[in-house]
């Protein structure tokens, strides 16, 4: 099975150190990139079908292309690494940062060269203290080896809000403000950090760049599916025998992923699979043969997200799961727009009442209605999620909900 990011993870315990990374060909891609035209590099990235692996799945080349050129908008431009991984169920960036910090730094340097950024930033989740230390050390190594060139890489730490993982909220936080998402337009690539053109990319996305530069965009595209190139890293948990990090080519079948990790646990029946972190409604047994890439998963009514796969089995209850997720979203709602601020809390409390055995049949209809009134009518994706989760679980597991309604008799 083709692996790109985690290829050396099993064989090279010291992959995080510069010496090992260079021994295995590290930073050669950077050297090659710096010898190429920026336009040619951009063309390779576009050809690669690399898509944003932080969850949105937006084509990376297309995003980069919308950065206005220096003659149109002079002045600084920035590349920001989104390492604020906070989605429940996702831990792939944590492992990538721990095991392959140089892979990210090399990718970031390549991106900075293409974008023309002299200052680049890694915004890392505040709780990732170990990974911060690892990155700090790796950056020092790279600097000492003269690899950073003209680019200054700044490490910044988050203060704990889930919403900071959303690009525009992340930029607000970096500017020292409350992490309230912005409402594009303008998009960050036009007016991002300090209103300057800014590319925000996820850790995993940027880590793919050394491979794309080395092997070419076409080779990368060929590994994956038709519109999603390369590989995808899943962090798998839940009802599985071997939880952990798994790298597959884009478009791998759900059935094969479950086989690899051993899910569901023996003696249990599959209830569903959350594909990309708790914000996404689960895939069902009927979806076992769909290909896991951005478009196919979307067609199945959910999202590939950030690869935080959680396997659900028949011992789990959908109302409890939905309540757990809504409680998280209520806690993390930034409070900026009314539907999300009020709606998340309201639906959590209705779910809580259902769990308490005080639910009525009307509550389920009301939950669906509240969810519908939130999704699509809010500022950012967190709000959309509040409604999507309600709809997702009530729609997929109506029996679990009906069981919670107290009988009239």
């Amino acid at each position: 099975m083709t692996k790109i990011l985690t290829k050396h993870f099993d064989s090279e315990p010291k992959f995080h150190e510069l010496e090992t990374y260079r021994k295995l060909g590290g930073y050669e891609s950077l050297k090659k990139a710096l010898g190429m035209e920026r336009a040619a590099l951009l063309a390779e990235v576009k050809k690669s079908n690399l898509r944003g692996l932080g969850g949105a799945g937006f084509p990376t080349g297309l995003k980069w292309e919308t950065v206005p050129s220096e003659d149109k908008v002079p002045g600084p431009r920035f590349v920001v690494v989104n390492a604020d991984e906070s989605e429940p169920g996702c831990y792939k960036d944590r492992i990538l940062l721990t095991r392959a910090p140089h892979q990210l730094i090399e990718g970031l340097l390549i991106a900075s060269y293409v974008i023309g950024a002299k200052d680049s930033f890694i915004f890392i989740r505040g709780e990732y203290q170990n990974q911060y230390d690892i990155l700090e050390k790796a950056l020092a190594e790279a600097d000492q080896a003269g690899l950073l060139g003209a680019v200054k890489i700044h490490l910044m730490r988050g203060a704990g809000a889930y919403i900071s993982g959303l690009d525009t909220a992340l930029l607000e936080t970096m500017e020292g403000k409350k992490a309230w998402p912005r409402q594009p337009p303008p998009f960050p690539t036009v007016a991002g950090l300090m209103a300057k053109p800014t590319v925000v990319n996820n850790v995993e996305t940027l880590s793919m760049l050394p491979f794309i530069v080395r092997e070419g965009g076409e080779a990368f595209a060929k590994i994956g599916g038709p519109k999603s190139g390369g590989t995808v890293v899943f962090s798998i948990s839940g009802s599985v025998e071997r939880p952990g990090l798994y790298e597959f080519p884009m478009g791998v079948k759900l059935r094969d992923v479950l086989l690899a990790c051993g899910g569901p646990l023996p003696g249990r029946k599959l209830k569903g699979v959350i594909p990309g972190g708790t914000s996404m409604p689960p895939l069902m047994e009927k979806d076992l043969d769909i290909q896991l890439d951005f478009d196919s998963v979307r067609a199945a009514g959910t999202f590939l997200g950030a690869g935080g796969m959680i396997v659900l089995d028949d011992t789990m209850d959908a109302v409890e799961i939905a309540h757990n997720i809504e409680r998280f979203l209520t806690h993390e709602s930034c409070g900026q727009c009314t539907p999300c601020r009020e709606g998340s809390n309201w639906s959590e409390r209705i779910l809580h009442r259902l769990l308490d055995g005080k639910g009525e049949a009307a509550d389920i209809d009301n939950l669906s209605r509240v969810g519908e009134n939130i999704t699509g009518k809010v500022i950012c994706a967190l709000g959309d999620t509040v409604g999507m989760v309600l709809k997702g679980y009530i729609g997929r597991y109506p029996e679990d909900f009906k069981k919670r309604v107290k009988s009239n008799g």
Partner: protein, 495 residues
């Protein structure tokens, strides 16, 4: 703003400048789209999600406060789906909003009530308890904050961040426990703090001066001009005559700014707002001769008695409180008919104060420009004091001014030097009992007229209340005296 383009609003073809916000274009077309957070002077954060409209071709509903008009655009604000979306946004605003309307001062002018009647009218599905937050926060000298009523539209924080740049209010916490609060270590005491009450669409920020005084639906609203300084902010006088036993007997309940982009925008200062509300204290009700014996006079008798006293040795003290109409009559009487050369209406020393970059002007009277425009010039009050002391002045005519504020303790002595003294104005002031005559004039809310502001812009104010007692407008009193003067001269000629 770009060129004029054609677009459709609710099926009707309309024109608007390209890029104009749909919510504004609709307003121009007479279509009100519900909203809380949007305010033309405070921006469009798009957080209330009330102004949702349908734009043909867009994948989901759009907020009209963040959508610009484009050529050929097809906007619908009246479809069932849009109305449902707006009603559901309202429903979410009300999930945790307390139903304390009966004791809320905003009742009757509340955005939640208004839109509930207009687009809501659903049966509440909320079976959960309301969130509790702090209900009684003294935000500053003029403003109370009730966090439970707040819908977090952030208009007030944007006001203190962007207009006054003083940052006394902020947003604290996150999610459903989020609240507006006073910044630690600060108090909402900037010179424009009352405006946050006006812009608050709900009852979260209320006026300490107005709280629990009178229900807003009893108020009569009259267009007026603030007389507090030479800016001439356009205001609305909210008077309570329907329930005279409310509001501690005061007829003017509150002043509110009235939008005029050429003068004051949407705002007014606290000095103006809270400095002029009690106009009814110490009013001059009757026309009086106070010495040698206190005697009530009719206006006509007063005029024929006073007219002969006006002449040689007359000095007139006035102020920029006079309207353009008053100044014209003033000039006709004193400058043209009586050839008075001693006019004293300068704002120095007692009618000057703080000036700032937003609205407040140094001259704390509304209409010095009106006198200037007629060529009237003021002497200094030092000079007047000298002339009084040396006995050069036989008659002192004081219009709407407190002499103790000009001369302090010396005022009484100086006033006594004048053989005859006349006080004309709405209020008695400190030395009101030491004059020979007292002529009641109307307060600005009891007359109509015009003020010319420091930039030469003329503003009209209308009559909000009936005069108290026998009070007449200043110009009317001047005209009466002018007539008596002419009649007296005729008698002289005839004799």
């Amino acid at each position: 703003m770009g060129k004029i383009v054609k677009y459709k609003l609710n099926g009707v073809e309309r024109e608007a400048p390209e890029g104009q916000l749909v919510i504004e274009a609709a307003k121009d077309a007479g279509v009100e789209i519900p909203h809380y957070c949007y305010h033309p002077a405070l921006g469009n954060p798009g957080n209330c999600r009330m102004c949702i409209v349908d734009v043909a071709g867009a994948p989901k509903p759009q907020v009209s406060c963040r959508t610009g008009v484009r050529e050929g655009m097809d906007v619908k604000s009246d479809t069932d789906a849009v109305k449902r979306a707006q009603a559901s946004a309202l429903e979410l605003h009300l999930v945790n909003h307390p139903l304390d309307c009966p004791v809320c001062d905003q009742s009757g002018e509340c955005g939640l009530q208004d839109y509930y009647m207009k687009i809501g009218q659903y049966q509440s599905e909320v079976r959960e308890d309301k969130e509790h937050k702090d209900k009684r926060i003294v935000a500053g000298p003029h403003v109370m904050l009730d966090q439970e009523r707040c819908i977090l539209c952030t208009r007030c924080t944007r006001f203190v961040d962007n207009v006054t740049k003083t940052h006394e209010l902020g947003i604290f916490g996150m999610g459903h426990t989020e609240r507006i609060d006073v910044t630690p270590g600060m108090t909402l005491d900037n010179a424009y703090s009352g405006n946050v009450v006006d812009i608050c669409p709900v009852g979260a920020l209320t006026d300490r001066d107005f709280r629990y005084k009178v229900r807003v639906w009893y108020l009569d609203k009259t267009d007026s001009i603030c007389p507090g300084c030479s800016r001439g902010c356009n205001i609305s006088v909210h008077a309570n005559t329907a329930r005279p036993w409310h509001n501690d007997g005061k007829r003017v309940a509150r002043l509110k700014p009235r939008m005029n982009m050429d003068v004051n925008g949407y705002w007014m200062c606290d000095d103006g707002r809270y400095g002029f509300t009690n106009l009814d204290a110490d009013r001059l009700g009757k026309v009086l001769r106070l010495s040698p014996v206190k005697t009530e006079l009719s206006w006509v008798d007063m005029a024929s008695e006073i007219a002969p006293l006006l002449g040689e040795g007359l000095a007139v003290v006035a102020s920029g409180m006079l309207s353009n109409e008053d100044w014209a009559a003033y000039k006709s009487l004193f400058a043209d008919k009586l050839n008075v050369t001693q006019h004293y209406f300068s704002s120095e020393p007692d009618q000057v104060g703080v000036e700032d970059e937003l609205l407040r002007r140094k001259d704390k009277v509304p209409n010095l420009k009106g006198a200037e425009a007629l060529g009237l010039k003021s002497g200094s009050f030092d000079e007047l004091a000298k002339n009084l002391a040396s006995g050069k002045i036989r008659t002192l005519y004081v219009i709407e001014r407190d002499l103790t504020k000009i001369w302090g303790d010396k005022a009484a002595g100086l006033l006594a030097k004048a053989g005859v003294s006349i006080l004309q104005g709405p209020n008695k002031y400190a030395l009101g009992d030491s004059f020979t005559y007292r002529l009641p004039a109307t307060a600005y809310v009891e007359e109509e007229g015009h003020f010319t502001n420091f930039e030469g812009k003329i503003g009209a104010y209308k009559k909000a209340l009936s005069p108290i007692g026998d009070a007449r407008p200043d110009w009317d009193i001047f005209a009466l005296l002018g007539k008596a003067l002419a009649a007296g001269r005729k008698r002289e000629v005839a004799a």
